[in-house]
Symmetry: C2
Subunit: 498 residues, 2 copies
């Protein structure tokens, strides 16, 4: 073993040690959401904080920085090793740009903002949250300056979630969303509405649970490398590619909640279960970006999980489980109902099309707040006006309006766009998969999703963080992200329903 | 704040940081037993090992040792603070006596011995385990020498589990066990056996589960500071006094498994829930010794949970849950059945009296092996001969004989005795509680265990590790551990049944 390889092993060892601590944090976090008895919160919080501190110290260690520098001279490492070192060094340098004082200030401010947001939402009054939000925006501008950017301060913030995302490019993308999608949804509105009342009858808990497990198995989720549990908000977490857990929630008056949360989280989980296990703890062992992660959940949730082919296979079992609600409902009627398009105030309850208006609004407001073109005193009125303009709805109050999402209170600016990016990447990937797998739709119809999963594993999952989302998209589909694929998908699908 | 107090705060901070890591290990360990998907084992093991390494490094840090030395000069600290520092310094010095090389060797040997034990048990052949056991015994002798002892090398090993336990004193104690208990059990055997066949009918899983939860509530277990789950082997674990979890197992053909595991683990958990929360991470926030811990589980399991008073309150609900098995069984018949005395090969299935013969045999063999008076080539024959002599049973094979317990494979020599100490302390404590709480038995009969729990909280739990078990026993009962209390309890109880 040459000296360089010994250094690389030292690097790997440190990174995997950090991963062990981070995944332990994930276990404690999962347990907090799934199992924690009420009194357990206090000490769990300090245990989580201690582990986070240890993980941080292990990473920002100057000696580790030196090691990364020495490894980064580009010799005697193979391509994957080189990439790992480059990405770790990038992360290291980025972390170093934020002083300890800044990190403490940020932690204080976000913790405070979170509590103010809770209060404001309960009181249904944005004014309570506004001072904290205002401080957070100042902080985020400072953070952008510390991190640095070429064109736009918002670029620096988005980079945290979507490496290389550009405000200028997203501005163009969301212009397309605004123009094309608003017009298309208007067309659909002129058609008669589809009936979905039968989805909101009583669907018993235990049968829903069993059905959700079957659906997860159907899409290829490996229960030997994961499990499903119940939590207030569904989520996916992972402690290695060999232990990737999902949660769901069950509403006995709304069957759709559970099934599509299973498929959505299942899609995230399939990505994590498909990451290369030999890259544990290293950049190549982790996901590309939040946008690509979301593309995996949305591809399964919408492109597969709301397709007629998928339900051709899965609907009979559903009818059998709930004959009292569904025995007289045809597959066509069911398919239309689960794809019903209807404006709604709340992002998390939006349909596949309206969803992007919610993101669009947040993107426009965040961008304006960060660059200073929007004054915080006007942001609520702008929120309400945009909901009227794009969705045609009157926001009744702050809790259902500008206070609905937790993200800003966490200081997450630049996050929302990744939700839409996910759908758009999903459409483009699925289109490519159809080219590459002859008979893909017939396979799904037959309940066989194995080739699709294999395609995703080969083209996306196995690469980990080797490529940026833009690079990955070009590699897999031969072109950069193109909104056309989503619009084509939407037009074809919804014109068939409305 | 004076300088000494600032140092004490520094000490507290470090200890609580270590506790955070150790309790995180406990969360990962709990999850491993309760939830882990099969493929998750590999990375969970390395995550556990990494956290253990971090915890160890934080504790054995020389600077921390200096801090402890400076704090230990006996000035300006209050009594509790002084005690914490003394105990931490004792732990620190003990840890320092074992070199890093020795710890690595021990870890390697025990890991190897564990695998050999698994193999040997599967193959039902002690010869497979013998070489590893022999190496372990050499290692344990070396460990005893490194730690140091006054009278007997076995003292050094027992100290790990039962601070201050002396081989000489336990030799006297187990002589009493051998003479008095063997004779008493012989007397009982001359009486007609009681019927317990109805305990082994079909008891449905869900009803057993619900009943177990009710029993835990009845003894005072706080479900807001804990939860119960299912695992292969029942255990108690804690992440703070505000999150203490128990597990149980359910056998539909053997009702006794579940209920008494609930009460036994519940007893452990009540102790942990009663430890002083303001001493989190410090010696005074942890339990006295394994013997005292076991006294709490056994007091609830046997002195309370196998008493007629307890079942006078709890039996009607049990009959209601399982009328098909119990409606024709009187309380007296039930009470006799759950206290049936019968020799059995397997320690974990032993009744309240025979249990101590199992421990006695292990004590005699361990002591002999460590001091060198027993040769490893004879140990299996001695095991079988002692089972014949004390229990009157013929050991049919190694798997049900000398290979039945996991403890030796973990290198745990000096552990078994704490099980018996637990029962003997329990009898002495319960006798004292009866003196201190007039009408205690009537309270239990009425389903009210609150005063007993309060008594345990005040006299035992709140002290944490302030006293050794011997000191605690003298403080609570006015005298050292006295086997007489257990024999009196046993005679009174079992003469009433047989």
């Amino acid at each position: 073993m040459n000296n360089k390889q010994a250094l690389y092993n030292e690097y790997t060892e440190r990174m995997q040690k950090i991963a062990d601590v981070n995944y332990s944090i994930a276990v404690l976090g999962w347990d907090k959401e799934v199992n924690l008895p009420t009194k357990g919160v206090r000490f769990r919080s300090r245990q989580l904080a201690t582990l986070a501190g240890i993980s941080h110290e292990l990473f920002v260690d100057e000696k580790f920085g030196d090691l990364l520098q020495r490894l980064n001279d580009g010799n005697s490492l193979d391509k994957g090793q080189e990439k790992n070192v480059q990405l770790s060094l990038k992360d290291f340098n980025k972390t170093k740009k934020l002083s300890k004082e800044f990190v403490i200030k940020r932690s204080k401010l976000t913790s405070d903002a979170y509590h103010q947001w809770i209060k404001a939402k309960e009181a249904n009054d944005f004014e309570i949250f506004k001072p904290a939000l205002s401080s957070l925006i100042d902080l985020k501008r400072e953070e952008a300056d510390l991190i640095g950017y070429e064109d736009h301060p918002y670029d620096a913030l988005m980079d945290e979630f979507e490496t290389g995302a550009k405000t200028s490019e997203l501005t163009v993308l969301f212009k397309d969303v605004r123009e094309q999608l608003v017009a298309f949804v208007k067309e659909l509105k002129e058609q008669p509405q589809v009936d979905n009342s039968f989805l909101h009858k009583f669907y018993g808990k235990d049968k829903q649970w069993d059905y959700g497990i079957d659906v997860l198995k159907n899409i290829g989720y490996d229960f030997e490398a994961g499990r499903q549990d119940i939590s207030t908000h569904p989520f996916t977490t992972n402690f290695s590619p060999e232990d990737v857990r999902v949660t769901t929630r069950i509403d006995e008056q709304d069957f759709t909640n559970m099934v599509w949360s299973c498929i959505h989280e299942g899609g995230h989980a399939l990505y994590e279960q498909g990451l290369p296990v030999d890259q544990y703890g290293l950049p190549l062992g982790t996901y590309t970006s939040l946008g690509i992660h979301e593309s995996q959940s949305r591809l399964w949730e919408n492109n597969v999980g709301r397709s007629k082919e998928f339900w051709k296979h899965n609907y009979p079992a559903l009818q059998q489980a709930f004959p009292e609600n569904l025995s007289n409902i045809s597959l066509d009627k069911f398919y239309a109902a689960i794809n019903r398009v209807e404006p709604n105030m709340i992002r998390t309850e939006a349909d596949e099309l309206h969803y992007h208006f919610h993101v669009l609004i947040r993107f426009e407001l965040e961008k304006g707040l960060i660059e200073g073109s929007i004054n915080i005193d006007n942001v609520k009125e702008m929120w309400n006006a945009k909901y009227k303009e794009y969705l045609g709805v009157d926001v009744p109050d702050d809790a259902n309006g500008i206070l609905q999402d937790i993200h800003w209170s966490h200081g997450s600016f630049g996050y929302f766009a990744t939700y839409s990016l996910g759908s758009f990447y999903a459409a483009q990937f699925f289109h490519q998969a159809e080219q590459d797998i002859p008979g893909l739709r017939q396979e799904i119809e037959a309940g066989n999703n194995a080739n699709l999963l294999k395609w995703l594993r080969t083209n996306i999952h196995q690469h980990g963080r080797h490529y940026t989302s833009q690079e990955l998209c070009a590699k897999v589909t031969g072109e950069p992200l193109n909104f056309k694929y989503f619009m084509d998908y939407a037009r074809k699908k919804f014109k068939g329903i409305y």
